[in-house]
Symmetry: C2
Subunit: 651 residues, 2 copies
C-alpha cells in the first residue's frame, strides 16, 4: 500500500487528458444589470479610437476647469475682492506647467506603448520603492478624483437647483454607484456612453467662452448680477507670497488627469502610441485654452467665489444674461461632464491595481477579469472608497481639494525622473542594441540628451509644485495624504512579502517527495452511533487499519448508550470515551488530538474523519450544534493532519 504513494499507478496511463468545459453562465440579475458575460476570446475587440479615447481619458482633465479656477479664487478671496485679479497671471503659470507636462508625457507615451503610467516607469527605472510610492499616490488620487468630480458636479446642480443641496451627499453616492455599473459593463460601451456628453460639454463651454470673449470685445459683457456674498474670514489677510502660492497650488488641481492617457494606452486602437499621443496633445490644447479664458472672463465679470454658487454658474448667467435656457444647458453639461469625469478614474484605477496585484503588491484577486472582461473587483473597490470619502467630507469640494493633487504631483515627479533615467540608459547603449525591461524595450536614441533634459525639467517643476502644495495645504488636509501614502506603501510591501514567502515555501525547486508514511492513524469523533457515523466509520476503515473512534461524554447515561451501540455496530474498532466534567464538547477532543500529534512517530500520518450532518433546509442548522464545523476550523490550523468530511444528507 505504501508504494502507491509516490510511484505511477500501473493501471493509469500518464497521458494528459485535456477536456473542454462548455460551461456558460446562466442569465441572472447580473446579466440584466451589467450585460451578458463576455468570453475571454472577445477581449481584443474592446479597443477604442481617438475620438472615443478623448472622451474616456480626458473628461477628468477637461472637467477640472469647473473647480480649478474656483478653488484658486477661493484662496485669493481671503485677501479681499481686490486680490482676485492675481488669478490671471497664476493661470498663465499653470498653463506653462501644463505645457511642460504635455511634452514630457508625449515622450512617455511613445517610450511605453504597453502603458506607461508612473508606476511602470518608476518600476523599470527607479526601483521597487519609488514604484510602489508612485502607485500608492496614484491609487489614492484616483479615489479622490471620483470624490472631487462627483462632489463638484453635484455642486453645479445645487447652483441651479438650491433645493437639492441638503441631499447632496446621497445624490453623490448614488452617482458613484451608477458610474460603477456603467464601468462594470465594460470599457467600449462605457466609452460610447461617455463620448456624447463629453463633446456636448466641449461645445457648450466653448460656446460660453466664445460668446463671453465676443461680448468682452464689444464691451457689452457687464458684471455678475446679485453675486453670492463674499465669505471672508474675520480679518482680511494680506497678499503674501504664501497666499499666492496657496492659490497657485489650488489652481494646479486643474492639471490632475493629464497623466490618464499614459496609463491607458493599451485601451487604444493600433497604432496605440500614436493615437494616444495625438489625443494627449488635443486634450492639452483644449484644457489650456479653457483655463486661461475662464480665469480671464471670471475676473472681468467680477465672479465671487462661494460654496453657494459655482464660478461656472456665475460666469454663464452673466455671459447669457440670466438663467435662461442656455444657462441651464451649460450647467447641465458641466454637471454631466464632472459626474462622468469620475469615469477616467474608473478606467485607470482598476488597470493600475491589477498591475500592482500582478507584481504581488496588492491582492491577486484584483487581476481577475469579471464576466464583462473588466477588472470588476478594482471597479467595486474604487466605488466603495470614493463613496466613503464623499460621506466623510460631506461632498464638499473645498474640503476635499487639499487632499487632492499632492499624490498626482508626486507621481508626476517620479514618472518624469524615471523617464530622465531611462534616456540616460538609452544614451549609454550602442545603436541597434536593445534592453528588454518588463514594461518596454530600451533602444539607443540619438536625441537622448534633449529628451532627458525635457523630462528632467518636468520632474523638477512638478517636484516644486508638490512641495508648494504639501507646505501650503498641510494644515487643510494634505497631512492626511502625507501620512496615508507611506502607510499604503508599507501595506504593499507586507503583501509582497507574504506572496514571496509563500511562493518560496511552496516552491518545488528543492523539493524531495517525503517518505511514504509508515503508519496511518485515523481518528473518528462521534457524537452518537447512527447511519451517518457508521458511513464515516466505513470510510475511516478504508483508509487504515488503525482507526480510533472518540466520544466526548457530557452525560454518563448517554456514554453508556454510545458504548453499547458501538459494541454492536463498531466493527471492533476501539472507542475512546473522553469524560468532560465541565460539559465542554470541543476542548477535550482537541486536547486528545493534540496529544496524539505530540506523540507522532516519524512517518506517521494522522487523519481526522468528521461525520458532517447536512440538513435538508438551512434553518435546520439552528437545531443542531455545529460541532463538526467548529472542530474543522480548529483542526485546519494544526499542521500535518488531513481532515476528511463524510457528509450525510437527510432527504
Amino acid at each position: 500500500m505504501s508504494a502507491k504513494l509516490i510511484h505511477t499507478n500501473p493501471g493509469v496511463s500518464p497521458d494528459l487528458v485535456i477536456s473542454e468545459a462548455d460551461y456558460k453562465p446562466e442569465p441572472s440579475w447580473r446579466t440584466w444589470l451589467i450585460g451578458k458575460p463576455l468570453s475571454t476570446a472577445d477581449a481584443p475587440h474592446q479597443a477604442i479610437g481617438k475620438i472615443v479615447g478623448l472622451a474616456v481619458f480626458s473628461s477628468d482633465a477637461l472637467s477640472s476647469v469647473a473647480y480649478g479656477p474656483q478653488e484658486m479664487l477661493m484662496v485669493l478671496a481671503a485677501a479681499g475682492m481686490g486680490a482676485l485679479g492675481i488669478s490671471v497671471p497664476l493661470s498663465f503659470a499653470i498653463v506653462g506647467l501644463l505645457l511642460v507636462l504635455t511634452i514630457s508625457y508625449e515622450q512617455t507615451i511613445h517610450a511605453y506603448p504597453g502603458g506607461g503610467g508612473a508606476y511602470i516607469v518608476a518600476r523599470d527605472n527607479l526601483g521597487e520603492l519609488p514604484a510602489q510610492t508612485a502607485g500608492a499616490a496614484l491609487l489614492t488620487d484616483y479615489i479622490l478624483t471620483v470624490a472631487v468630480s462627483i462632489s463638484s458636479g453635484v455642486a453645479q446642480l445645487g447652483s441651479a437647483y438650491p433645493s437639492l443641496v441638503p441631499y447632496r451627499v446621497w445624490i453623490a453616492v448614488g452617482l458613484v454607484f451608477l458610474i460603477m455599473l456603467i464601468n462594470l459593463r465594460g470599457v467600449k460601451e462605457s466609452g460610447t456612453a461617455f463620448a456624447f456628453p463629453t463633446y456636448f460639454f466641449l461645445v457648450m463651454i466653448l460656446l460660453t467662452v466664445g460668446v463671453g470673449l465676443f461680448r468682452y470685445v464689444l464691451g457689452s459683457l457687464g458684471t455678475v448680477v446679485a453675486p453670492p456674498p463674499l465669505e471672508t474670514l474675520h480679518t482680511t489677510q494680506a497678499v503674501t507670497l504664501f497666499l499666492i502660492l496657496r492659490a497657485f497650488a489650488s489652481g494646479t488641481t486643474a492639471l490632475t488627469g493629464v497623466e490618464a492617457i499614459s496609463n491607458g494606452i493599451t485601451a487604444f486602437r493600433e497604432p496605440r502610441s500614436r493615437n494616444a499621443g495625438t489625443t494627449l496633445v488635443w486634450m492639452a490644447i483644449i484644457l489650456g485654452f479653457l483655463l486661461l479664458s475662464i480665469t480671464f472672463l471670471a475676473d472681468q465679470v467680477g465672479v465671487v467665489p462661494s460654496e453657494h454658487e459655482t464660478v461656472i454658474s456665475q460666469l454663464t448667467r452673466t455671459v447669457f444674461g440670466g438663467r435662461g435656457i442656455f444657462y441651464l444647458v451649460v450647467i447641465s453639461a458641466t454637471t454631466i461632464i464632472l459626474i462622468m469625469a469620475a469615469n477616467t478614474a474608473f478606467a485607470d484605477f482598476p488597470r493600475l491595481s491589477a498591475l500592482h496585484a500582478g507584481d504581488g503588491f496588492l491582492p491577486r484577486q484584483l487581476t481577475f477579469r469579471g464576466s464583462r472582461l473588466v477588472f470588476s473587483r478594482g471597479i467595486v473597490t474604487l466605488a466603495a472608497f470614493a463613496s466613503l470619502l464623499i460621506i466623510l467630507f460631506q461632498a464638499s469640494v473645498t474640503a476635499l481639494i487639499p487632499l487632492y493633487a499632492i499624490g498626482v504631483f508626486l507621481s508626476f515627479t517620479l514618472s518624469q525622473s524615471g523617464m530622465a533615467r531611462r534616456w540616460w540608459k538609452s544614451g549609454h547603449l550602442k545603436p541597434g542594441e536593445e534592453v528588454r525591461e518588463p514594461g518596454s524595450i530600451v533602444r539607443y536614441d540619438k536625441k537622448w540628451q534633449v529628451k532627458m533634459l525635457i523630462n528632467g525639467f518636468g520632474a523638477f517643476c512638478t517636484a516644486v509644485v508638490m512641495l508648494v502644495f504639501a507646505i501650503t495645504k498641510f494644515r487643510d488636509g494634505a497631512w492626511i495624504v502625507l501620512i496615508s501614502t507611506p502607510i499604503l506603501v508599507m501595506i504593499f510591501f507586507a503583501i509582497h512579502h507574504h506572496y514571496k514567502d509563500l511562493a518560496k515555501q511552496l516552491s518545488l525547486d528543492e523539493y524531495a517527495p517525503s517518505l511514504p508514511p509508515s503508519r496511518h492513524r485515523v481518528i473518528l469523533p462521534i457524537a452518537s452511533v447512527h447511519r451517518g457515523s457508521l458511513s464515516a466509520l466505513h470510510f475511516a476503515q478504508s483508509l487504515s487499519d488503525d482507526v480510533t473512534a472518540v466520544h466526548v461524554s457530557l452525560d454518563a447515561d448517554d456514554a453508556k448508550k454510545v458504548r453499547d451501540k458501538w459494541f454492536m455496530w463498531g466493527n471492533g474498532v476501539r472507542l475512546v470515551v473522553l469524560d468532560s466534567p465541565y460539559r465542554l464538547m470541543l476542548e477535550p477532543l482537541l486536547m486528545y488530538i493534540e496529544r496524539i500529534i505530540a506523540h507522532r512517530q516519524p512517518g506517521e500520518m494522522i487523519t481526522i474523519v468528521v461525520p458532517q450532518f447536512m440538513p435538508k433546509k438551512p434553518w435546520h442548522n439552528l437545531l443542531h450544534t455545529q460541532t463538526a464545523f467548529l472542530l474543522r476550523m480548529a483542526l485546519l490550523f494544526k499542521p500535518g493532519i488531513v481532515i476528511v468530511e463524510v457528509p450525510y444528507q437527510v432527504q
Copy 2:
C-alpha cells in the same frame, strides 16, 4: 482492500478503551463575569430552602401588586373618578380567584414532585397539542413578565426621579442584561442575591400598608396631595359591564407568577413537594392581603391612576405625609423587587425551554447546561426577547399589559384540566396500583372525586378569566398573543417533525451495512502545482489508484505551465484541464463533478481531495481567493461524496 470496509480489523482488539480527559477550562473574561466553571458533579448542592425559595419564586407574584391595582384603576378611570371605587369589590373577586388557584396548585405540587408546570401536566394527561400550547403560552408570558416587571420598576423610579424618564428604555434594557448575568452565575447564588431585597420589600410594603390602615382607623389618613391630572379620553365612558370586566382582566395580571413554584419544584431542598407547597401558601396569603389592602387604601386616599406617577408612589407619600426618607425607601424597595421579579422568569423560562427541547420541540442546544450548570442558552434567549419587547413597546407597562396574562390563564386552564383528568385516572386505578408516566407516578387516591372537582373548578374559573381577557383586551394587543401562540405551536411541531424524521433516517433499526465499494474514484482539483497540491496528490494516491487531477484554466499560458509541471511531478496521474472561457473558477469544476456523479457505477465511491491553504495570519486570507472554501460548501450538499481537506500551513 475492500474487505476492510466492513469487517473487524484483525490487528486491533475490539476492547472498549475508556479514557478520562482531565480538561479543565482556563480562566477567561467569562470566569470574571459569571464565576468559575462548575463540574457536573457539583450539581446536587445547588438546591434551595423555603426562605430563599419564597424570594426566588414569588418575587414575580408579590411584585405584581405594584402594577395590578394600577392597571385596574387605569381602566376604571375612563368612566371618571367616581368609578374608581369599583376597584375594591373587584379586588375581592381577584383574591377569590387566587384562593381557587392556590388550592389547585397545591394539589399539583404534591402530584408532581419532579416539577409540575402546565407543560408537564398537560403533556401527561391531555396530549401533545395541549402541552405544546401550554408551553408556548408560558414561554411567551415569561418573556412578558420580564418586560412588564422591569418596565414597571423603571416607572417607579421615574415617579421619584422624573429626570430619568427619557432614558427609561435603555435603563430597562441595561437591567435585563444585569439580571441575565446574575442568572448565568447559577441558581443558588442568584437565590441568595434575591432573598434580601425580597424581604426588604415585604417589610417596607407591609409597614406602609400597616401605617396606612392604622391612620385610616384613627381617621387621620387624608387624601393625595397634588395628584397627577386624570388622563381621561375625550368623552367619559359609562360604567358598563364590559368596562368592569376589562378592569377585572387588568387586575388579574396581579396573579401572574402564582404558577412559578409548581414549575420550579426541583430547585427546592427535600422534601421538595412539602417545601414548595408551604412556600406557595405563604405567598398566596401575603399576595392576597397586599392586593386587598392596597386597593382599599388607594380608594380611600383618592389615588389618580397615571403614567406619570404610580399608584404605589401616590399611596406611599400620602401614608407617610410627603416625599421623605420613608417614601424613598419604599419606592426603592418596590423598584428593586420589580426588577428582581424578572428573576422568577429567569428561573423558569430556561427550565421550561430545556423540557421542550428534551422532548424535541425546541432546539436541542437548550438542554445544554453552561459552565455554571444553568441552562445558559435559555437565559440568554429570554434576555434577548425581553429586551426586544421593551424596546418595541418603549417600556410602557400600560402598552404591554394587554399582551400579558392571557397566556398565563391559558396555561392555568390547561394545567387544571390536566390535573382533573389525572384525578379521574387515579380514581379508576385499584388501590396499590401504579401507572408510571414521564412526569410522575399515578396512584389510586381515595379523595380523587373532591380533588377532581377542585381542579375542575379551577380550570373553569381560569378559562372564564382567559375569555374575558381575550375579548376585553383584544384590540389593545391581546390579538398579538392570540396570533403568536398558534404560530409558536406550529414552529414547535415543525422542529419536532425534523428531529423525528432525522432520527428515523439515521436509525440503525433496519440498517444493513452497504456493500463495500467496488471502485473508489478520487478527484483532485488543483490551481497550480506546488508543495501543497503535491501533498494532496500523495494523499489522494493513498486512497485509490483511480485519481484524476482537475485544473480549471482561465488563461492558456497558465494552463501550459500547470501541464508542464504536472508532467514532472504528477506521478503519472491523469490531468483534466477544463477551459473556462467566461473566467469562472467554481462552476466548470462543479459541472465536471456533477457529470461524474451522474455516471456513477453501482458501488462506486467518489472522493474529492481539496488542497486547503491555511495562511499564517488571518488577514492573509484576504490575499487569496477562497475557492477551496467555496468548493467545499457547494460539495457538502451533493449526496454520496466524501470531501478530504489536506491543509497546508505556511509557517
